[in-house]
Amino acid sequence: MTDNELVWRIAGGSGDGIDSTSQNFAKALMRSGLSVFTHRHYPSRIRGGHTYVEVRASADKVKSRGDGYNCLLALGDSFARNPQDEAYYGNEEVKPLSENLDELREGGVIVYDEGLLDGSEVDDLDERAEENDWHVYPLDLRGMAREHGREVMRNTAGVGATAALLGMDTGPFEELMEERMGGDILEQNLDIIQMAYDQVAEMDHSHDLRVPEGEHDETQVLVSGSTAIAYGALDEGCRFIAGYPMTPWTDVFTIMSQNLPAMGGISEQVEDEIAAAALALGASHAGAKAMSGSSGGGFALMSEPLGLAEITETPVVLVESMRAGPSTGMPTKPEQADLEHVLYTSQGDSNRVVFAPGNQQEAYEQTRTAFQLAYDYQMPAIVIYDQKLSGELQNVPESFFDREPNPDLGATLTEEQVAEAEHHASGKFNRYQHDPENGVSPRSLPGQADGRFLASGNEHNPQGHIDEDPDNRIAQMNRRMRKLSSIRTELDEAEESNQTLHDPSGDAEYGILTWGSSQGTVEEAVDRLNERGHAVKSLGVSDMMPYPEADVAGFLESVDECLVVEMNATAQFRGLTQKELGRFGEKMSSLLKYNGNPFEPAEIVEGFEASINGGDPAGETTKYVPAAGD
């Protein structure tokens, strides 16, 4: 854990503006030169219920939420209160304060809204504060907000108060408010932030927590994984999306829908996910770059259109944003347990590309690659990620996104090329030829002269006619499957691998293997392990299908033992690795977590140390599965 970091947590009721306040807080810290990372915790309800967001900031790159935090702003849950008589409902009213104490680090700072929260109702607050050297500042934030504006503006008062306590300049906050609002509202907010700041500045302070100083050498932007995926799709020329809302996929769907009309694209909210995926196929068949997506349950409905895309060789990109299952599971909690679902769902042998990006940058790049491969190889490509990466915000250099739009439709012919292409005696275009080396037989588009063909979900011959002849079947199957090996070769030959090696000690003897959004947390744990004298490296794997055999086998060969870290109960990625590589079962043990919260670096550090010492690495919230033969 870096000493020089601020982990600021804002807590309150869902619907109390926690999200927007934290985003601005993170942005202000980013603008002041720090690296930031946010983590959202919220219940599956619209208003009320305890929620918090953490903003972690440091001069060094931060890749995860870290563990624990050191500054709490407890605003109170206004929805726990009856607005008419101001009476409190049940015993939820002190939750924003009481629920958050366990993770507050020693020496931490607490600011709470005296206007809504009664500190004396929190059992043993004083004792614990004394024991842990917490510095508690009750302030009437609600009162300040009322005095200069409206009660809802108590967030602003809270921000002003923490700024004063942490030695921050309020400039970036004021700037952000000026960009977002105007008129009376702006004036009131500016007054409130100043008032809170001044009031705190006059008080005696006993703590020594200060906001760190940092500097960026180029302009940064604050983006979530979902934003990165949506921008990846837009930059790659995707102009058609069809979807049906489901958390957390809704984030991507929303961002796309808000941007597409201005970019000459089309967004369709339709009756269900079967329709959504089928629409994406229809748009693609007619000549657009198209996508759809969902989360677990909705993706289950897409299973049949997914198989249709495979056999008709219709290019399409689907996004699967995982949440905890089975069934409706935990809508607002992350899990990495849909891997097998995404790899194997739909009837027949799977013939699809699946990428699991490990952070925002990878989300952007791999979404672009997914589109390229889908259109070059005429098959579905899936980007699988989770609720964690979906909502986490991280700063990325703005120049990273500065890409050329790519309108290339891949293996799609122009009308001139169709005219020159091979046709069957019947006049039909030979859409599904048996022989192309890389498996790809280019397509024509409806409306092009002399390009007629039938795209059929039944097995078909080169002209697209339904055909169950055994020789034709083998030829078509082999050709379709050949695409995956061609793609593997293309990915292996690419300048940069989609797998992310993190090896701070140079040539480590221990390995940690992970996939998807756990990557950043694992990398942070690896850094700490190396600081503690272990030679450990990690590989964050993104290619799920076709599987990156060479990359992973090389990694596993180079280490004595390997811990596989993933957020599910059945070690799905480790299972995939053993299945694909057919060996290394004795080298891999698993550290699993599936309680609805993502890993914290410390859990991985502890788990790893225990596993190499032969003890029981399972913590209270994690599960250990030993290597085969152990």
Binding site: Y231, D235, G265, A283, H285, K428, A449, R452, S456
Partner: protein, 310 residues
Amino acid sequence: MSAFSAIGEEREIDQNEFTPGIEPQATWCPGCGDFGVLKALKGAMAELGKNPDEVLLVTGIGCSGKLSSYFNSYGYHSIHGRSLPVARAAKLANPDLEVVAAGGDGDGYGIGGNHFMHTARENHDMTYIVFNNEIFGLTKGQTSPTSPKGHKSKTQPHGSAKDPVRPLSMSLSAGASYVARTAAVNPNQAKEIIKEAVEHDGFAHIDFLTQCPTWNKDARQYVPYTDIQQDDEFDFDVTDRREAADAMYDAESRLYEGEVLTGRFYRDDRPSYSQEKQSTGEMPETPLAERYFDDDYEWERSYDFMDRHR
């Protein structure tokens, strides 16, 4: 110049151009009503001068779904019940295409019922032909949503306890802007109805009565029929929803008493979905699909939106 030169090309079209060189006899039984749909569709498209390359025929699964195999245009033989969502997106991506969707009564009114309702509601400019043979053909004769009450099949040995669906009324209430019923046994009317439906700017639904001599033993089940437009007795205003609804109710009830009423039941001229979507600024004026071939097109950049993330 358009990247899709087949669209709107003007020349004489011989209906044999729609014959792909493989024979429907391969899967359709002798005497099946599906032959009638195929013939009517070929005739209608030829008479309208549609180039086979500008037509996209999307079908579902079933004997009916095989239509795209025997009709030589661009085709998409999709999955059971899902022809409509495939078809309507193709139409959105390239509104210049002539899009026709087709499937059976099980396909369209059963498993695809939800899509039927919403496609009609959205009023996509396309033609939807439902082969209504009151039975599941391809899976060998199970009861379908249009089978009469009391219908016995291997899966409903005691006879169906359900009233059949009312496809015309469903379509009207869902929002289709053109609704007709025709029959394979009435080839001239069938062709004219398909022509009207194709020319109609909106969702045109045709409930196409097709006999299934294999599983619905009475091969002549839709004879005799009455053409409501030719018979003074059925004088009603096809643009009036209430009058159309009454006529439909009547026709749907009488079908199961052996009286087959066919013809155009409803038509309105409200704007199609693409027009509505263009007017709200949610759809480009030129076909999206064209743009990928336009070298001069200036592609919009997503990072123009980056400001808000700084």
